[in-house]
Subunit: 460 residues, 2 copies
Amino acid sequence: MQRESFSPEGDRAAPISQSLAEFVAGTAFETLPEAVVHEVRRSFLNWIGVALGAAREEPVRMAARVMAQASPAPQATVIGHRLRLDCAGAALVNGVASHLYDFDDTHAASILHPSAPILPACLALAEHLDISGDAFITAYAVGAEVADRIAAAVTPWHNEAGWHVTGTVGTFGAAAAASRLLGLSPAQTVHALGLASTQAAGLREMFGSMAKPLHPGKAAWNGILSARLAAEGFTSASQGLEGRRGFLAVMTPDWAPGPLTEGLGRTFEMVRNRHKPYACGVVTHAAIDAAIEARNRSIDPARVERIDAYVHPLVQELTGKADPRTGLEGKFSVYHCIAVGLIDGRAGPAQFTDTRVSAPEVVELRRKVHLVVDPTMGEEAARLVIHITGGGVEIFAVPSATGSLDRPMSDQALEEKFRMLVEGFVGPKKTQALIDAVWSLGSESSMRELARSIPVVEEI
Amino acid sequence: MQRESFSPEGDRAAPISQSLAEFVAGTAFETLPEAVVHEVRRSFLNWIGVALGAAREEPVRMAARVMAQASPAPQATVIGHRLRLDCAGAALVNGVASHLYDFDDTHAASILHPSAPILPACLALAEHLDISGDAFITAYAVGAEVADRIAAAVTPWHNEAGWHVTGTVGTFGAAAAASRLLGLSPAQTVHALGLASTQAAGLREMFGSMAKPLHPGKAAWNGILSARLAAEGFTSASQGLEGRRGFLAVMTPDWAPGPLTEGLGRTFEMVRNRHKPYACGVVTHAAIDAAIEARNRSIDPARVERIDAYVHPLVQELTGKADPRTGLEGKFSVYHCIAVGLIDGRAGPAQFTDTRVSAPEVVELRRKVHLVVDPTMGEEAARLVIHITGGGVEIFAVPSATGSLDRPMSDQALEEKFRMLVEGFVGPKKTQALIDAVWSLGSESSMRELARSIPVVEEI
């Protein structure tokens, strides 16, 4: 949530849209830092897993049925389904799937989830146009960079005003990536970014409903529309982002110019992309880490008398639901998170179903959890003091949660997450083939082949 | 721009989305006031003319080519073209066409242009589902009512903050009308309105670019998507409009609850719908009226020495461009408007081309126009004092412009406008057949037949 890597100052009169457009159109694959290229592969792997894992869920199937009514042109794959739709329609459905589990990635200097709106747009167009892996990586890198920077510029005001940054700012990322894949000139890209400005939408009021994952889906759709219109010569304002009545002025009057263009093309926000090991809000992750650590050290849940969980105040504020009734509510209950961490040793989608949330042993254990709010603790830290029945106390302290910038998920941990999400549906062989395809993504890869190799898990 | 018919007070905690949804789902055609039914026919006629007139323009063809890439399902007619697209795609293109000439209608208590976002959604779905004329009228009446009321509730703050109300609020109107045509229950309609809330977009920064007419096109598209998703069971927040982080709070913190539900179902804003006789900003219309009146009284432009135009300050502020270079700039030049009024006796699209704006006799006459800003004049009034070469002064005063609420365009004047827009492309016989079809719109009408009877004016 900090914008620590940018100066708060900057030139508000600088031609921001133009600079971003030149970056999008002009950045060569060869000039991308290796860390960026690698993070694109990581993001892509994580995203396929998340989206394929959610492919059978009802909101995804609803969105797919609507898109199929609208657009049967079989240009691009709907992940996990036999259905192919036009690029924008497929991107919309895949965007819903990407964000449905709240299990996607997060940009550290904002709370943007870059992959959910941008990768669906990239994959759909890359499949349709049969782009190489290099070009795909470049398009995603510049698209995510544009979105990450705009998100940093509007943090925290935009979010506090009630906007869902993944919907609003995601639109710019999808438009930038799509502009790049369609080979737009900087002048056309300025128009695409302008068209993105005026379509950017998404309200936090929707949190807790299916409309939340619709936001990145619509951002992907709007981004592709923006780039396709600009490719036809359709115009927008030349400063849709920074103009007097543009996106920044209207939707975040208190924006900071620094993040937008400072070091653009030299430093990449992609390297500060975070991945979630657990399918719930980031603030619970240190407590889950500690609970899993306790389980790995053979703490028996049946012998736990009481758990005192020392956490930052934000943990209680955001996830203080003591007695969750549904899977969704479970994601907002650090009590439940600690219980499943200790019992199951994981916190994936299976831990946030209605069934698991009401399982007797889980309910019993979470009632033994007591929150101790401690303002001196870091947001990403937690300490569990576990009292054992019949005497004895064990302490598990986590200074930085897995997935934080201090302790990023390893490539191997990301692979394991991917397996957890998809192996059950598609088997180990196809799972490994996908993992290999993503790690080896490069000039030899056909994105069409890759997209069409994603297994079908269910018919609509 | 006034909200004079509503109390400024109201209950912010009332279930607004629910009330609007019940109105949308529950209003019967038989209970619609005759004035509403008639105004729907007028709006529909005016809208077909405006959209068919613009059908050959490049931004419309660009949008159509993009939609054709995206969605070749031949469900609904693109006005003026042989192309049929899926409902939402056709509605997007027709929405662009509707607003391209700035010649559409205006709701008096706001500055919403209701037909441009809502009628394209209605016609596309009505054609696809082959709805009767009655059901079509009802859907448009409730959709426009919802949009008019929300627009009144956010006037003037929303507009002043930089939002283009036809894009943002138009989304609700399209969603409401589409919900009605798809037969959604009130509960489903609440979700459709919530999905509209979170997709509502459109920035005033875009004015002067093609993105402005894209706004109603996107509003129509988003409205259809919202209703189709809700029909599938897709959910949104239950108070997307009025919730703490909903559309009103985030996009117009200073909204007024009165207009939203006061008298809902008993009084209709449709009867305060205004139509433009001239293809330019409303503030110039009284001056154009006066200039046309002067021409009708045989004032010879060649003998004019000087014209003193007494106008409200807003006229200079919004349309004070003394030396326009393009057709678009001509719309923002009351000087040009007065000149073509006096020379051509009209101010249709033909008066706002690049060619007409640089015609020597027009340029010469408009240089003789002098603005006299007079704060005591009404916004809808103008007085031209014309000095004749060799002596003599003629005065033409217009207290209320044609098309104002005090002096609405007659049905006959609306027919003449329609003929001016389309007769040149499709001939008098087809023009008259369309006029007759709209005036007789009712239970016997097949909307599919009507939509498919709209003549083709050009291939994409």
